[in-house]
Symmetry: C2
Subunit: 255 residues, 2 copies
């Protein structure tokens, strides 16, 4: 029987703990081809590299597990896999993560992890972005790895007629403390920045981005932010059509 083929990428870079652990778990279920950014790519969203060439380097080469690093963004990694390395092969599942830090709520827009997950779904295979609500480089991934294994099993066993991309976030607790899984909607809310302004030795101002998430609906139990903060694993299906249909009639009358 043919082994499932699983593509994996992330945005924290090829040496991140969450990524390496995800590769190990996925390799129990099939052949893994992973391409991860050579450098940290947090906050890179769906960005692509248009004006620089990309260098690809194999860093792990085992029979059913190959890992490459690429000098680009997470979306570049997904494109390099589907349009080059794996061109013509049937990929059964695309995974991105496990991210060090939550991608719940509006983070789906800024996240390189989710950018790559979306990109994977464009190639006709289901995709899952996985994130742990803990930014620590050496975070405890035990709970997230159990969730990852469960998601891989379920997704490999499912058939979808439509494009599927899931944003999965896991609370930073021990596995036995996870309260269960909730299918949620994206929380309304935005980041507000406070710029830390300093002067370089030549007297030029420079700024560090330094923000906080403002949840516009902190009590809404059907949202991913609420569920994540209350101990649930959250699953938000992501839609690629960003059209605001509800606004179309108003605009037609106005323009």
């Amino acid at each position: 029987m043919r082994k499932p083929l699983i593509f994996i990428t992330n945005d924290d870079g090829v040496n991140a703990k969450g990524f390496r652990l995800l590769v190990e778990v996925a390799a129990r279920y099939g052949r893994v081809i992973a391409i991860a950014p050579a450098e940290m790519q947090s906050g890179k969203s769906n960005a692509i590299t248009m004006y620089q060439p990309l260098f690809l380097k194999k860093v792990v080469d085992e029979p059913d597990k190959q890992i490459y690093s690429l000098t680009g963004t997470p979306v570049d990694c997904a494109k390099m896999a589907f349009d080059n390395l794996l061109l013509g092969e049937k990929v059964d599942l695309a995974l991105s993560g496990i991210n060090h830090g939550s991608n719940a709520g509006i983070n789906v827009l800024y996240s390189g992890t989710m950018g790559a997950a979306m990109e994977g779904s464009f190639y006709g295979c289901p995709s899952v972005g996985l994130s742990l609500d803990d930014h620590d480089l050496d975070a405890d991934f035990d709970g997230a790895l159990q969730v990852a294994a469960m998601m891989i099993e379920k997704m490999l066993g499912a058939q979808f007629d439509e494009q599927v991309c899931l944003n999965v976030n896991v609370p930073a607790v021990r596995p036995e403390e996870l309260k269960g899984i909730r299918v949620c909607r994206q929380t309304r809310g935005f980041w507000r920045e406070e710029y830390d302004c300093r002067q370089d030795p030549r007297g030029n101002d420079y700024f560090w981005l330094h923000g906080a998430f403002c949840n516009a609906e902190p009590e809404a139990e059907e949202t991913d932010e609420w569920a994540l903060k209350n101990g649930y694993v959250t699953v938000v299906p992501v839609k690629i059509d960003m059209t605001n249909y509800a606004l179309m009639d108003r605009l037609k009358g106005m323009l």
Copy 2:
């Protein structure tokens, strides 16, 4: 009477022709504060700069028209405006563009122009991303500038209770050849890349991204790609909630 305050950014950089012309047009309607990326930021999506400081420099300083350059992404520019330079001021309209190249269809996801437009709308003012379907550095913006003036007038005259972000694309024709305005939905379709592989002088492979857009519904007249290619100015309202509600029940049964 208070002059409207208009914020402008782009992704082609502070010296791009489309950006400078948009600033001139907008300055006829109000006070303009513009912050544009110091360097080309095409394809940067909603990316933010998390691991480098940002340098801000004033490049034009007239009573009602100030232009700054910032060493960051388009979204960084919007954040720097709303959370720093213009903090506490009521901004009446956020504009991004005029981009050199179309942002119709799936480009809304990759576009730095649209990333910044979305970010502007998060701060409670209506936002419009404007793009011309011509990548030429010295493209003819006459038609796009007429559309920009019309959009500025209409948006400054409108009241919205909800978050509004518009993706406006203009065909590369003379103004008198524009067939009118169409409110559309985002076209289904994706980019497929062909990687141009070369070797550097030390024998390392490197790749250039080189893609083509594959329209999944080329005959659909209600889509922005069709309308743009057929001579219409297209307006797609953009929604920030990416939840795929249609998939939630299926997932609840499955997980």
